[in-house]
Amino acid sequence: MIQVETNTIKQTVADHPSPEINTKVGPVINIKGLYKSFGKNTDILKGVDLTVRKGENLVVLGKSGSGKSVLIKCLVGLVAADKGELKVFDTDITKMNNQQLNAIRLKIGFLFQNSALYDSMTVRENLSFPLKRHSKKLTNKEVEHSVNEALESVGLKEAIDKMPSELSGGMRKRIGLARTLILRPEIILYDEPTTGLDTITSREISELIVHIQKKYKTTSIIITHDMACAKLTGDRLVILKDGVMVAEGSYATLEKSDDAWVRSFFI
């Protein structure tokens, strides 16, 4: 079954040519001098500058505790930045009130490390929950159609009536991704999408990320430790070290970096 799903995804990836990253268009995400600390002497981000262009898949690498997850949580307002500019679609989210922030959040999808599926809801309810809240004019039939379409995108249509506890780790990630996709976000933030998965499932998830980028023309930031995932999904890679961005470039460039510490990620 998994093989069939993977083939379907590969087929769909082939059907959709890679979107061109338009460098002339202004960046979708623009971070300047971002600082974040938790209490005294626990500076997590120390002046991060980052730009992500439309349609780009940006991979953020770094050791545990280097501030990768905090960085993307700042982008959706889950963590408030101490200092700096955080522009999403050319609007500084640090100066927004909750209502304005929610409007931006609707354009951003977030795949959590452990998928964060609602335990008390079935897969169908997990997917229809955000949709019903934000598209109140939709009929039940339309909601059902959107749920089926999102599940089809991740190759898990048959799991529609299952509870999250009945799903494997890989399936949970896919359902989490389907829930993210259902609101048709323009940006997707992936927090360690392949953590805790076997090599085959990790590859399937990575292929799915590429497939989604191509099909939905999304811009993505992918936080990962998985170099295979980084290689497969990343158009560009950045490396964070102790809250500072120390390297940037393509996989091939960074692999041959002069810096031994940067190269150590690729061994």
Binding site: K73, V76, G77, L78, N102, A103, R105, L106, I108, F110, F112, Q113, N114, A116, L117, Y118, D119, F129, P130, R133, H134, L183
Partner: protein, 252 residues
Amino acid sequence: MVISLKNGFTEAGNATLFVARFFREVVKPPYEIKEFIRQCYIIGYKSMPLVAITGFIMGLVLTIQSRPTLAEFGAESWLPGMVALSLIREIAPVITALICAGKISSGIGAELGSMKVTEQIDAMEVSAINPYKYLVVTRVLATTLMVPLLVVFADGIGILGGYAGVNIHGDVTMYRYFSQVLSSLDFLDIVPATIKTFFFGFFIGLIGCYKGYTAANGTESVGKAANSAVVTASLTIFIIDMVAVQLTDLFF
């Protein structure tokens, strides 16, 4: 000492902000009617068997324990009235509230705590859904409404238990028993006792939600949230009861 004092003040400040947010959010649309009804079903309907069993036992045991003392004074005929008064004014509200603190407050604490730890609350937030409104407001409103109803239910079942207790050693008809119960009850016995149960319900829900919603990351904090919710809610019930009894005594 200074640190624990500081932590105490921080906790008190956070709890106050949490309560203030409840009153802000409860009046603001959109209203989560479906979730509120679902919570009423879970909190109210699903607690009925437990409340019925304890209510029946309360009435039965109270009657059996009180009979010898009343018999010494030849006042056995006062038994139905005394049992009804004790149950309605004090025993049923407090015991039912304590049971709800154990079942509902800890349940809410553990549920929201685990949602916090597994980032489900964050997932709602990034989907532009207000998790406070969906999770906290609905649960607190449901406990505020359901606990008083459960107490009234426990009152009724407790009085039935009393009827069973009276008939272990005697032979009293149901009509006679309930006539004595009703004639011994006054409007002022029922109203203040019922009003205080709304406060019990409000704090049972609020404490469970606060402990769960503010749980730290890590699975250990889920257990701590549940445990802390029961302890704090139980203590709060006794404090509210003490204040309510004093106020009732003062005004009625």
